[in-house]
Symmetry: none
């Protein structure tokens, strides 16, 4: 039996409030042998106060050893098994530029590339054009029309753009057209079923039009497409958990991921202080709040240990504003680890605290990877966090008599 | 592969003996911040002695965050996945009054209700009649006959009774007939398949008869039925684990749950001392003993922290009698937590010890939730306890060469 079906059976009406604070890429690594992680190094008096009344643990975003992207990382935190709910690259790119993808859409990631007069690719990234040029080229492509589908072309950055094919019965089992090496023509798109063949025909028609309108624009004189993906069918958090969820995120991709699971994406400003003010203002209107904080990840990706420590301390300073609202459950976690030592996302489990008057305290007294190891949540799949939050918020009745 | 199939493959003959002592609702919570749980507060010298030679952990009855009823809680302890084996409300009620439900039976929970002359319900619980009146009314209903099925009507308490429909090919996909609000007639029973339609016809015939024989008995002048359930098909513990199991329980529901998995339910008296005496007397006749102790749960449900502590201490005092019999494996655990702070079952993991000469001790030295957190069993699904018991009792051979 699916845990979502079980939860739907057990839901009881409640006014209780849950806050899920996601510090992106929170988990880290020590740089020196015997040293501390970024989180262990940071002075976090307010998080530590929570920890002493909370239950702690380390969440595993997907499976041991698997490094998640932002999509799977967040789906897990929202309670959706990231191995069951796959979000294609095209959809993620579209979410990332805040394009409102819908159910009749297939999205693909596009790359500008350079072809020689015989059509063979000489540079798969068109010499990494400026984003300004990317925007100009997309403007040209926006003028094209194909009979197979409605078409949207949106720039992303440098050689990258997004194309959305909109129409009825469009499938997404379509191969990438990037041959992955120079000296070859872009591949023909092919669909493995009737609906996907429709999408492939639209993709080939679009590529032909692109070659025509860009023919004098070398080095950006051709396109390849990859990551064809339909908008995934996901039951909303409202339906599944009986909550009214609001997302307080700054960056488009996280807003998009929240929208994917039915959250209302509210205008939360650009800073953590503005997000906290938004939380306070909307406190009575929703009962599940997802707050996304980006800078623990971006400083980790930059390999800047000290800056990540600083970003964690800034987050800590805002915690009293959340506690002042008297939530029934406050979770602080990350969607994955981003150790500055590795300058990238990683597979390491993510430090997590769940504060609630109904939790069983575990004598952990500081927030940090090595302390959480001894916490009452143990090491657990991230997708159980929402069920645990619902339980602690007294939103789940008894299973069986 | 199903773990039961695996175990059946690996079973080796053995005379070893396993005792599963279930302190119902054992797990708890501290009442004061920084305080201890009921189990941590109780003086348990004998359990602590076991713990020092045992492996400890915290069992998760169903899934993280899910609060189990007694049915799922015990099925898990007996090694059956409670999400795979669902026991309907009607069957549990029948087990609870010690009715020997069989494979041709569909059981439903009945409620006496009050209807006005036009048949509209004015009180869904018939003013909560005395149990004596419930018994009298059931006696009247026992006189009714319907052509669709053999009929058994048994009182439970106040407005509650059980009805069992016995016959061939009776299904249980039948709706509840309680409209859940006054001012409506009882709903007609309908089945969603041919077999269930047969049961629905029997239920409607029974309701019509009930209305006739009770017509002058307001406020208990009508009935509603809910929780239609067939006797679940469960392979017995004998077949699955190769054991001869005996159940030493006092309360009917736990006897019923034990019977469901093929245990022999023996007359174990009414007190823990009598249960221990029964254990001693039957020691040579069985090799798996389930002992159920109710009072850790009932005191928790009462919200009586001190009484729960006292009940744990009384249980502790009996432990030497079990140890004196030299079991090969002794497990002490609960089917769920019942923190007196919450006055109800809860989702919190359950402190568990597994004592055996073959276990790998883990340096836990006292029995309690926060100590078990550091035990060698970690946090584990309760349904793995029986496989672990069989292993420690040397009843499982090697898997693969």
């Amino acid at each position: 039996m699916n845990i979502h079906d079980l939860i739907r059976e057990l839901l009881v009406p409640s006014e209780s409030k849950i806050v899920l604070l996601v510090a992106d890429g929170l988990g880290g690594l020590p740089v020196e042998p015997g040293g501390k992680t970024e989180l262990e190094t940071a002075r976090t008096p307010h998080l530590d106060t929570c920890v002493r009344e909370a239950i702690c643990g380390l969440s595993i975003p997907v499976l041991p050893g698997i490094t998640p992207g932002s999509g799977p990382g967040h789906l897990g935190l929202f309670g959706y098994d990231p191995l069951e709910y796959r979000i294609g690259r095209g959809i993620l790119e579209a979410l990332g530029i805040h394009f409102a993808v819908g159910e009749r859409d297939v999205a693909a990631r596009g790359n500008f590339c350079t072809v020689d007069p015989s059509g063979l690719i000489t540079d798969r990234r068109a010499g990494r054009p400026t984003t300004e040029r990317c925007i100009d080229m997309c403007r040209k492509l926006q003028q094209t029309r194909i009979p197979e589908a409605e078409l949207f072309v949106e720039p992303v950055r440098e050689h990258r753009f997004v194309v959305i094919f909109r129409g009825d019965n469009l499938g997404d089992r379509v191969n990438d057209t990037d041959p992955q090496q120079t000296g070859h023509k872009p591949l023909e798109a092919q669909g493995t079923d009737a609906n996907s063949a429709r999408t492939a025909a639209a993709a080939n028609a679009f590529a032909a039009e692109a070659g025509r309108v860009l023919q004098n624009d070398a080095p950006t004189n051709m396109v390849t497409l990859r990551g064809f993906a339909r908008y995934p069918k996901i039951a909303t958090m409202q339906e599944t958990y009986g909550v009214r969820p609001a997302a307080l995120a700054v960056y488009p991709m996280y807003k998009g991921l929240a929208r994917l699971v039915g959250m209302e994406v509210v205008d939360a400003g650009c800073t953590l202080a503005e997000q906290m003010e938004t939380l306070r203002r909307l406190w009575s209107q929703y009962d599940f709040f997802f707050i996304h904080y980006k800078y623990t990840d971006s400083t980790g990706e930059d390999g800047n240990f000290a800056a990540k420590v600083e970003m964690i301390e800034r987050l800590d300073a805002e915690i009293p504003k959340i506690r002042a609202l008297n939530p029934d459950v406050l979770i602080v976690t990350g969607d994955h680890s981003t150790p500055s030592k590795l300058r990238s996302h990683s597979w390491h489990p993510v430090p997590t605290l769940l504060w609630s008057p109904n939790c069983r305290p575990d004598h952990v007294s500081e927030f940090g990877e090595s302390y959480c190891l001894h916490g009452g949540l143990g090491q657990f799949p991230a997708r159980y966090l929402v069920p645990l939050a619902l339980a602690h918020a007294r939103r789940l009745g008894k299973f069986g008599a």
